[in-house]
Symmetry: C2
Subunit: 177 residues, 2 copies
């Protein structure tokens, strides 16, 4: 007879390298080191600067929303990490731009009404890479690594409930980065 107290089998979510193509279903990869790949940019300021626009598809003005700039000071997580919670922001995008020059992790699932845990993905984010989650994309709270790390965040402020949470019970999911 099965022991009714036995936990369900743990499941490992393997981390992948972050690329724009792999991340496209969830949003944008933002490269902060040098010119964005594949972008020509345009000269401005009488040739003293080159401008690369639309690093991310910011989507913040819907439902009477407005862009908001925040600083997140994140404590590092220890790996392996048990994944307990996913969040989503149905009314706007949310961009994370690392300031601390350390790698970090993102865990995402498609923007379904409930997160499909079979389609959960984990990405290793290089120092100097940011991401912008499309509205409604499920994501784990910030996973800083190694040391306390600061991130600029560009998301939506405004009326309405813009944060849904989903607790992961079974199967218990872990990632080791």
């Amino acid at each position: 007879m099965l022991n009714p107290a036995a936990p369900p089998a743990d499941r490992w979510l393997e981390a992948e390298a972050l690329t724009a193509t792999a991340f496209a279903p969830f949003g944008d990869v933002i490269d902060l080191d040098g010119a964005p790949p594949g972008r020509a940019g345009q000269d401005i300021n009488q040739g003293h600067a080159r401008r690369y626009d639309d690093l991310a598809a910011l989507d913040l003005a819907g439902a009477s929303g407005q862009a908001r700039l925040s600083l997140f000071h994140a404590r590092p997580r220890e790996l392996p990490l048990r994944l307990r919670l996913l969040q989503r922001h149905p009314l706007g995008s949310q961009a994370f731009l690392p300031l601390s020059g350390r790698p970090w992790l993102v865990v995402v699932a498609p923007a379904d009404a409930r997160p499909d845990l079979a389609r959960l993905r984990c990405f290793r984010v290089a120092p100097g890479q940011g991401v912008n989650y499309r509205a409604g994309v499920w994501h784990h709270p910030l996973i800083a690594l190694q040391a306390p790390s600061d991130f600029l965040v560009i998301d939506r402020a405004g009326p309405g409930d813009n944060c849904d949470e989903f607790e992961l019970a079974a199967p218990i999911l872990w990632t080791r980065g």
Copy 2:
């Protein structure tokens, strides 16, 4: 008799240290190193992060506008610098967030219909400090120093003419930082 070809007397614009109080008529100072001064912040992510909101008064959604995230790759200027041009963006704010860890300069004048050159100010910006120009504030194009420097820029995209320029003729103005 005055020589009609003699240039008007040069004028030096002395640089000041950038503080939130001194910059208040023009916009926000954004401190990227550590917690914003005077802000308590709030714990989020089950205590794994502390969030500081509204680092700047982003004003981007007016006149059917939308937030835009850009990267400016700026060539350094040599000091002393002759000031030749001011710009303003009447329809939205514009934030500059340095990524390169080098000092830079801002030159601003109040948001009058024409820039009042008697009220022009120059501020020395420390590495790790950004600024957000309020809509309509006159400012010199980006003044990076020492080496090529990258800046994240958050400004407004949308319909309408959002860039006015004003050429500085006489008096000829210089700043030495």
